[in-house]
Amino acid sequence: MTDLAIATEKLTRRFGALTAVDNIDLRVTAGQFFGFLGPNGAGKSTTIKMLTGLLAPTSGRMQLLGLDFSTQSVEVKRQIGVVPEGMGLFERLTGAEYLNFVGRMYGLDHGTTLQRTRELLEFMQLADRPKSMIADYSHGMKKKLALAAAVIHGPRILFLDEPFEGVDALAAGALKALLARMTARGVTIFLTSHVLEIVERLCSHVGIIHQGRLVAQGSIGELRAGIAGEEGSKTTLEQIFLSIVGRSGAERAEIEELSWLT
């Protein structure tokens, strides 16, 4: 599994009787821009938490960059960057202080941390409020700062949980350009998003999780070919997604019964 950036074997997570993630075998090659999709409660966040060391799996194995997470977790963490759900910011620090803190936590030397902090704050257009605490940032500014913190140590895999949520169009454009540049340099990006248009535009490969099970995995082209047959080239990711995890005919009929809404 050494050429793979992310590889899981029968990765499972149970919460009591509920199986949130059920025996998934993920394969993400190094340098891929991988979109991880699924309806609400499908197990996306649970998976990303396990892959980033925030949650222990109930069973199964995880290898990141050929390193076994269970035995080499510190080495794995050194190689990955994370924008977790809720962003994981220390809100009573300023943006610069936070990036300095994170840089030092990842073992960067002082000079490098300072230089990267300055560059990242400039790039993310956060440098003009040096004395503002993160608590006073807007949601979009926090997202940008969380992303800056995730890349400050130059990770080889970047995990992003809904990175564009609440980010304005201008900033989103800059972030997308940054992410594209990172994948061009061989960084693997693992992204979850509910906005399928973004995933379709950015990602080369997609995994779809539904009710804890990985129901589809491959390049968008492969998924189109597999699902849509002859009309594959015209099929959007949204149509593919709905055809895989969409409601059954009986469920749709039930929804149509909500006549009191009209």
């Binding site: 962003m87 009573r92 300072l114 040096p130």
Partner: protein, 548 residues
């Protein structure tokens, strides 16, 4: 629409909201982690219950005595006590109660009258209100036992008094909420509040010095207090007892005016909330100070430590300096010690009773350690979502504890040094055996507690917000553990001191505490690796509790 929602009556809405609160508590306790809180809740509830019932008996006895001895107007004194309790306590101890934002019901189709009544009812539903009403009932029983004829007048005045207090308490609470909505205002307010609490300690020395000259002013001001609601109650009942129904009517009218006035003010305040008042933390755009972030020099003397430990220390110091409430709490113990030892009466008292610094010194130091160690039992309280960084970064959790404990110990050392210097200067230097024994005992109790506190921080984390006391509550289990650990360690210390006295060996406590301190240090460093593994096992609970 094929169907329309039916209007819901006020009583039904009250029942629904009471049910909602019960479900919230029930669901909270369904979690295994929170179930342990129930033990703390029961202990706190039992203590509060004993206090409430005790005061009930005291007020019953007071009311009975005043009425049966003909001092009916003295009932005012009892109502003043209840008034001060009702209005001041919610501000002072709001931190111990969970808040329920009843404005959340505004999203539902609620008439303003219903919203107003719900707001008033919830003013009666907290511990302060329940206790106050119980005590008023106890006074009524006391008066009824002594003179049943006074009952109708008292019932009217008591009802007006309750209405007035509920309206005033809700009004003050509502205005406080508006005032404290902004983070900076809130932190400034609490800094001022703590300063006020500290300065109250100076009341004793001031009364000693100026008490006699202030007395005539106080006596002259006393008649004006009779126009306040608590005094009006006693005055009205007294007038009724004397058959002076005109004066009774006047007092009742005064109380009614107070109730109406604050009821109307509360109506105006709630109307603003009902319209959808914006209480936002987001500050107004400020003038940009400069175009670039200030460069850090990094020459803060922490370069000898590992980068991770140094980063945690810098972050902890910044957090402390920005948390006005926590910082002021840290200033409180030395301020109290300075106040205490600066009182000449105390030094004089110690001299006259033959109390030497030998006894006083360890006690004061123990007090400071007691206060300063409490936050260590929930040391991740202010991390919130940031705690995830500790688990995604390539570090061992022992580094986080080392950084946090380093800051904690530095603070304690600084404060203790200041207090020791002040004590030696003002009261006198304790003998070498006691001095060294106390220092070794401090090391033993502080380091001994750190290991337990680190475990407690991982096991019973509770998220707290900066500069906010409303709705802030530590895990009750963490409070009990802190209490038990402190009692245990101080009990060991007392036994050691007792042994020294019993054997007549003045150096025995110093030797014993040095050994205990060395053992505690060894235990602490040994515990760090175990706690690192424990943190890995507890990370889900920790993240869940702090990111919620």
């Amino acid at each position: 629409m094929a169907d329309l929602a039916q209007p819901v009556g006020i009583l039904r809405q009250l029942i629904l909201i009471a049910g909602l609160r019960w479900r919230m508590l029930h669901n909270h306790l369904r979690r295994k982690q929170n179930r342990l809180d129930l033990i703390g809740l029961i202990v706190v509830g039992a203590v509060a219950g004993v206090f409430l019932i005790g005061v009930c008996f005291a007020l019953y006895a007071g009311a009975y005595d005043f009425v049966s001895t003909g001092r009916i107007s003295w009932l005012s004194l009892l109502f003043w006590i209840i008034f001060l309790w009702w209005q001041l306590l919610p501000v002072m101890v709001a931190g111990f109660g969970a808040s329920f934002d009843f404005r959340a019901v505004l999203r539902f189709p609620l008439r303003f009258a219903a919203f107003y009544i719900i707001g008033l009812v919830y003013g009666l539903a907290d511990f302060t209100g329940v206790a106050a009403v119980c005590w008023i009932i106890a006074i009524i029983f006391g008066v009824a036992a002594a003179s049943p004829a006074l009952l109708p007048g008292l019932l009217l005045m008591a009802a007006l008094f309750i209405t007035f207090n509920v309206a005033l308490e809700r009004l003050l609470g509502s205005w406080m909420e508006r005032l404290l909505a902004g983070r900076r205002t809130r932190e400034l307010f609490f800094a001022g509040f703590i300063l006020l609490m500290v300065s109250l300690q100076l009341l004793g020395p001031m009364l000693n010095r100026y008490g006699n000259s202030a007395e005539p002013w106080l006596v002259r001001a006393l008649p004006y207090f009779s126009y306040f609601p608590a005094s009006l109650v006693g005055k009205g009942v007294g007038a009724a007892a004397a058959g002076n129904y005109g004066a009774f009517a006047l007092a009742a009218a005064g109380m009614a005016c107070y109730s109406a006035l604050f009821g109307v003010l509360l109506w105006i305040r709630f109307a603003a909330q009902y319209r959808g008042e914006e209480l936002s933390e987001t500050p107004e755009p400020t003038k940009i100070a400069s175009k670039t972030a200030p460069a850090e020099t990094g020459t803060d003397g922490l370069s000898l430590l590992s980068p991770q430990v140094a980063a945690v220390i810098r972050k902890e110091v910044r957090y402390l300096l920005r948390n006005g409430f926590a910082a002021m709490l840290l200033l409180l113990p030395p301020a109290l010690v300075f106040t205490l030892i600066s009182q000449s009466s105390l030094v004089h008292f110690m001299g006259s009773k033959g109390i030497s610094p030998e006894l006083f010194f360890p006690g004061l130091m123990a007090y400071i350690v007691l206060i300063l160690m409490t936050p260590a039992y929930n040391s991740f309280a202010y991390e919130n979502a940031g705690v995830q960084t500790y688990f995604t970064a390539p570090l061992r959790f022992r580094d986080v504890f080392l950084g946090k404990n380093f800051v904690q110990v530095s603070l304690i050392v600084t404060e203790l040094t200041l207090c020791i210097v002040a004590f030696c200067y003002r009261v006198g230097t304790p003998s070498a055996p006691i001095f060294l024994a106390t220092l070794a005992a401090i090391v033993f109790t502080v380091v001994g507690q750190l290991s337990i506190a680190n475990w407690s921080s991982l096991s019973f984390p509770r998220k707290l917000e900066f500069g906010q006391i409303q709705g802030q509550r530590q895990s009750r289990m963490a409070v009990l553990i802190a209490f038990a650990a402190q009692i245990f360690l101080f009990a060991i210390s007392s036994v050691v001191l007792g042994l020294g006295r019993w054997t007549g060996d003045r150096w025995l406590p110093a030797k014993a505490f040095t050994l205990l301190a060395a053992a505690a240090m060894g235990g602490y460093f040994a515990s760090l690796d175990a706690l690192t593994a424990y943190a890995e096992r507890k990370k889900e609970k920790l993240i869940e509790a702090l990111c919620r």
